[in-house]
Symmetry: C2
Subunit: 342 residues, 2 copies
């Protein structure tokens, strides 16, 4: 049954520091009808991602900022509930960059079909989606881990980090994770097969990190920046490679993020650091997705999801990313499908 | 006429901050006699180089630190005055990493012969020596300038920087220099053909730099680090490349060198930064030297030397590197050759 009205989430303030409920507003609107080549979609799952914090600033970046008093957009899994498209029928599951809303109307060209028989559909927002591809290209194209080398990943229990460490292992390297709780450290070592993991919130972090890196660092996949990265950079081996994926420690920092300059360390070790955004690899997405899918089917890649229930809890799920409450991919479950059984 | 005694320069203190005369001692010793396969050399020119400051610290790096109360070693051009080697005869000019001393005894294997008919012999300590090779590999292997791109170089009027800008021009890129005086800025534009140059000591440096970079920065060859590099990094284009050669602004800094963290800028622009030392390219020296020699002969590469006269002024010449008193390659002239006319 299709509702007549629905809610969507608007950005009403540009957050200063840590975002809060005051920055978001739930707005009730009519459920629109699809035009030609369009479908009406009911949201099943939303993806909340750290990069979205950047879009809340009014600053030019690799993607445009969110507009104030307009709906926020992000990764969404939805069910087709009404269709004026020949490509999609009622009950199809689709994935796209859509409104944070209970319903979306979207042109068929903006959507990818999701086959629910291959893997749980939520993997399309995680290990088989942009998250997995980010780990895949950032590690393999920039980090280029070799057999026997040491790969360090920060934000290791997060959606991207947990996949990075496992790909490092698949490639024959040692994986060392940095995460924010002892529970996460245990998970990385016992569940995901990391060779070592360190809790950066402990006072003994600097020593713990050194102990976890008897052979130094050949590749560092950086999700966090800040003090944690300063400490890893001190341990770089000759010809080390740093893949810069994110800098979550600074996303809620107002003013300048200051730390030790590191040029000299890079000169002494002939090391390299490169930033990337996933768009750099758009031409190769299919290759990456196929290999990730194969590893998943072979049981070489595990993933975890933290699922918050209820559309109204979307902001809380987003805030949790910066508090480190998630393990693996953070999702919001909005509804069960009506026209298809998963 | 070979002297009986000679002077050599010992490091007697590890400098704190800016080095001073107190850190060096001139020690008189007997002129030694060469054994089998050895030659006796009279120093004609000494090279003083910024990297030597690093060797004055007691810190593990890519080359071992100088030992206290022992003679300092560096790039030297010398004349063979006595020979027990079949490879070298009296009057030959040679180049090697030798003592900062008026005379050296050296094994023939440690020396390269210098042909004084190809180019002035001092070019072997500069544009046709390690200096030129540093510019060549750091720019071409890491920076990879393309036709029409903008290459920025700091320390642009120095020995390495002045060659970097000219190679950028040879490759069809625009060259923008950063230097420490208006005289140097003029020299870069009028003598070396840089497209623009900026004096970082002016209060208007930040604006001047932006004006000099209407198309942003595609390649940055960094000799200095510090505030100057912070400013350049703000102007990086997408997929920019930074070649880290030196960090002279911090060489005399005690304690931590702190500045804005730049990971986020690298992520937003998918930019890359890589440090190097010349040893990384040892296998390709001949290729580089041949191409540099060709450009020099074709008149495409100009060079300047700042020559201090007198062995006793070697420390002053070294201090000058950090005060920016040199234009191009800083050398010390110790003696004229006796057995050959140049």
């Amino acid at each position: 049954m299709i509702a007549k009205t629905q809610k969507e989430i608007h950005l009403v303030n540009r957050p200063e520091g840590m975002p809060s409920n005051d920055d978001f507003k739930f707005v009730e609107t009519e459920v629109p009808a699809p035009n030609e080549d369009e479908v009406l979609l009911r949201t099943l799952y939303l993806s909340v991602d750290p990069y979205m914090r950047g879009r809340m600033r009014d600053v030019k970046s690799y993607i445009a900022p969110f507009e104030l008093n307009k709906v926020i957009t992000g990764g969404v899994l939805a069910e087709v509930v009404d269709s004026n498209s020949t490509l999609f029928k009622q009950g199809d599951i689709v994935n796209g960059n859509l409104n944070w809303a209970e319903y979306n109307v979207a042109n068929e060209k903006k959507l990818q079909k999701v086959d629910p028989t291959i893997a749980p559909i939520t993997t399309r927002l995680g290990v088989l989606g942009l998250t997995g591809l980010t780990a895949y290209f950032g590690l393999l194209d920039i980090g280029k881990p070799q057999v026997g080398e040491t790969v360090v990943v920060s934000g290791a229990a997060g959606a991207v980090g947990s996949i990075v460490g496992q790909i490092a292992k698949i490639k024959g390297a040692k994986a060392v994770g940095i995460a924010g709780s002892d529970q996460k450290v245990d998970y990385l070592i016992k569940e995901l097969g990391f060779d070592a993991a360190v809790n950066y919130k402990k006072e003994s972090f600097q020593e713990d990190l050194k102990k976890a890196l008897p052979d130094g660092v050949d590749v560092y996949f950086d999700n966090v920046g800040g003090d944690v990265s300063d400490a890893v950079i001190q341990q770089l081996n000759n010809q080390a490679r740093i893949s810069l994926c994110g800098s979550i420690s600074s996303y809620n920092t107002e003013g300048e993020d200051v730390g030790p300059r590191m040029q000299w360390k890079f000169i002494k070790t002939s090391s390299m650091m490169k930033g990337f955004t996933l768009g750099d690899y758009a031409a190769d997405f299919q290759t990456g997705a196929l290999e990730l899918g194969k590893w998943l089917q072979e049981g070489k890649l595990k993933y975890q999801e933290t699922i918050v229930e209820g559309f109204e809890n979307t902001p809380d799920a987003f805030f949790g990313l910066f508090k480190g409450t998630n393990m693996g991919k953070q999702l919001v479950k909005v509804a069960d499908p009506e026209f298809v059984k998963l």
